[in-house]
């Protein structure tokens, strides 16, 4: 059973580069400002979510373990 993640996109940073939408279309989509939003928190496997966060050119995506609050990305 995979753990639940809390994934957030900082709209002060997101520029709509679409790496996350391309990598995990089941989880991220663009809003009317062409900025990314999470529409299904469980829409992609953890490895793909972490890759999407790493691929974000403005480091706008933060991924946490929903149960413990442990920050999985960005790594300290």
């Amino acid at each position: 059973m995979s753990r639940a993640l809390r994934t957030t996109v900082d709209h002060g940073r997101c520029v709509g580069n679409a790496q996350c939408v391309n990598l995990a279309p089941g989880m991220f989509r663009h809003n009317e400002n062409v900025q990314s939003e999470v529409y299904d928190p469980a829409g992609a496997p953890e490895a793909v979510v972490l890759k999407a966060a790493r691929f974000c050119p403005t480091s706008a995506i933060r991924v946490e373990d929903a149960a413990t609050g442990e920050v999985l990305f960005p790594q300290p």
């Binding site: 002060g12 520029v15 050119p57």
Partner: protein, 405 residues
Amino acid sequence: MSHDPDDLFAPEVIADPYGYFGHLRETDPLHWNARSELWIVTRYEDLVWLVRHHELFSSAVIKSDQRPPYPPIDAEDRGLFDEVRHFRSDQLVEQDRPAHTTMREAVHEYFTPTAMESWRPFVRAAVAELLDEVAPQGRMDVLQALAAPLPVRIITHMMGVPSEDRDHLRALADKLLYINRGESYRMKPLMEGIGAMMAYVEPKVGQRVLAPENDFISVLAAAEKDGVFTRHQVLVNTALLLFAGHETTMNLICNGTLALVRHPEQWARLTADPAGTVRVATEEILRYDPPVKSTQRIAATDVERHGKQIKQGDRIRWIMAAANRDPRVFEHPDRFDVSRSPNPHVSFGSGIHYCLGATLARVEGQEVFRALAERFPDLRLDTDRLEYQPSIQFRSLKSLPVAWG
């Protein structure tokens, strides 16, 4: 004074783009420039809208624009212009979806913030080495001593080429700088640079296809093997890396150093705590006097904005230098404030073409400004004459003499 208010290459526009494009931003935000037959977009909100809507505005600017280049080129160079077009059409920056998505994916991982942050020690050492050479002299031309050689060192390292080839590549990079300049003879040096660059890279790509290494040419060679890139695209995009990373970083370093020495109270804040302030300060440098003033799109369809009709095929230039000073977004936009935060400048663009090298540029800028603040706290301007290259795209000083000690 130039008599035509639409002359984008008039000396006063080149010297002070902020006055000229700032006036357009406040009086005619979607301006039809009759002389160059293009729309000019200057407001922040319009620029972000335009760049993020890649389905409305195509990046295939060179490929699909059949009009003659602006400003005009020498008549005998039309053949060279066609060669340049053939070359530039294969650049990543000229691609639309779906081709762009696959091509960017192939190179994106190499440039992620995490990957580029790991280059910081290498960048720091290169900066220190260049400053060691000039430190005893008490003065330097920032352009020649630091801003031009640094990105060439980084990019040649990235390309996995030996250090003894650096001077050759820098000479080629200097020729490639003629892209988007105003000189009527610019096609000759540009095509010379392109030809020599492709000849230099070709055998290296062949080697990397057979025996990959840990460098960027190997990334492109692997993508060629996977069928993502043709050989011509590999060569063109290696050359793109050289000129995209060269001139832009040069301008970041020169424009930033100039802004800092011209604002002693801001410079004092940086020298008081270089490591603690340089990240935020570098963002303000990028906003205040961006390396790239403007770039272009072609309308992919008819679009209405501000009550005007943009027609399919129309050229549109969007002016980051003006949007970065839009008072609707930035408080006291003409004020240089190294602690400005948040700072959502658009100096790296936005949307799917957001600058691939943004993190590397930031790392290079941060390391340069930090080292200058640590080593030369009394840095000062050593000239009363500053001149810029006649480019519509780049904000490029011709030289920047400074002194210390």
